[in-house]
Amino acid sequence: MTDKFKTPIGNISQIYGKCISLIGDDIDTDRIIPARFLKCIDFDSLGKSVFDDDRKTLEGNHPFDLEINKGASILIVNSNFGCGSSREHAPQALMRWGIKAIIGESFADIFYSNCIAIGIPCFTLPKASIKKIQKYLDNKILLLDIDIFKSTAKSKDMNFKLEIKETSKKMFLSGEWDATSILLENVELIENKLNDLPYIKFNCN
């Protein structure tokens, strides 16, 4: 029995870890976690099933199976990563496998907001920089030190200025990414809004 996975809490300002590269554009959430694994009422067991179909097809040669990538926590991807279904199971599966941050060319909208909502910062870099990292990772190990406040990623060989949405950055630094309590602070405004909306008045319920 493995210990129960501990989800992140509070502010997130720094991530240090080993990078794992996954090459490909438009990698959808069905690939990240095939639908059959969505038959669950909690997220606990998803980590081992991440990329299940792709991994089986590659028979041990998928990046998530390679010995060299064991213990990696920073995922390097290409463009439109996480497109398709809104299933939060996808970032949950990545997180439970060990991913703590993602750096890519671009991310699909719903996947991105799911990552923010569960405490996985997603950064973007230009295509050329991603290519450079992915090439480096072909035969070397890359340990990156990510500073969210400065939006930088540093290693002994390479340094990058990362892009992150200003709102996301603030949310990680303040802990506000775990939004429920912040939203509930405005309970009075929420109740006023309900009473103000025209359609609440002309619909019976």
Binding site: D53, G84, L194, L197
Partner: protein, 469 residues
Amino acid sequence: MSQDTLFDKVWDLHKVANLPGGSDQIFIGLHLIHEVTSPQAFGALKDKNLKVKFPQRTKATVDHIVPTDNQSRPFKDNLAEQMINTLEKNCIEHNIQFFNIGSGKQGIVHVVAPELGLTQPGMTIACGDSHTSTHGAFGSIAFGIGTSQVRDVLASQTLAMNKLKVRQIWCENKLSNGIYAKDLVLHIINQLGVKAGVGYAYEFAGPAISALSMEERMTICNMSIEGGARCGYINPDETTFNYIKNKLWSPKNENWEKAVKWWESLKSSNSSIYDDVFKLDASKVEPTITWGITPGQSVGVNQKIPFLKEIHPNDQFIAGEAYEYMGFKPGQSIKDTPIDVCFIGSCTNGRISDLRVAAQVLKNHKVAKNIKAFVVPGSEKVAKEAIEEGLDKIFTKAGFQWREPGCSMCLAMNSDKLIGNQVSASSSNRNFKGRQGSPNGRTLLMSPAMVAAASITGKVCDVRDFINT
């Protein structure tokens, strides 16, 4: 920055506050839940010792995991039974109305809410499902969310969001005979690409859109997300109002007039400003079929699968993957591709008008030998109407299996799955690798009419050869 579009008006109306981090707190007028993405959200409420803030603003149904052959309880699949059971318990505990199997109101969540009149112009609508964009067909701002956001809506009826940009997609002229909304939206996604919508809401407009029925408009908005746009919408008009009128939840009596007046006021106008405008000629759209592993990789039925050099450099990597996975050669015709399975259904094309069109094609024809063909109505209401019209008989007589409502083989969470590298002609929305339940199964997306035509010949063919004779 967009100004004075329907999106701007509805967004601003629902804004509760500016959050400290800089995002907007948005009120969600209608929250829809189902069995797959809600259990963990209810679990999180329990962990945080929170209640559902406005239970009457959330409605539930069951769709993703339901078997479509035998729906008697308990389900044969223990995990599916556990999921429906969890939803039933959560709805009782939190006093949420649940449209369960046998209620006459169950079905795919994006089919059910419009047919009950729950979906209305000017609302913000959220659901833990990416195809929530469907509801934008009514002039609502509707988008998919993940489970943590489902938790937030349950707890506060609000979400922390960044406002989207707005791109108008202007569709000039009209669709030709034998060309359907599905062809148009596949064409749009092909033209713009699957990433172009990231950060945008899509406003579909122009004569070709105005001419569409509500159900066709839902097909268009449904697939906004396949073009990367989390939200897609169409300005409400007479077609919209006529559809909503007299539905179970629609405004009644003097409230109806008030509602229509307000809905009218929400429309984008000539003075609206968009972040981007994209124009296309709808009369040029052909019956469109996907050949690859993203909904953007499509061609007209008489076209050939593109060569790598014809594809934008940014899309060449995934095109290479697609040739290999699908077993297609560049330059090969899509026409005459042999089919193994025909699936009509899903939140994209599982409505009564979709079934009518497919049945019309199938009338007096038989499904080709060795083809497995099945039709899954989008809801109990769709099924009932279809049976009353005798459509079920047309389907079964042709050799289709007539099933119970659910999401079925769109995402294959129940027992409806492709086997091995079977090729399906599917009226659903995603042709991703492994999407229809087999890690090497292959999906060709097309309109329900085209699926019906393919079922007759056993291969990809032009539906116009059947309807124009």
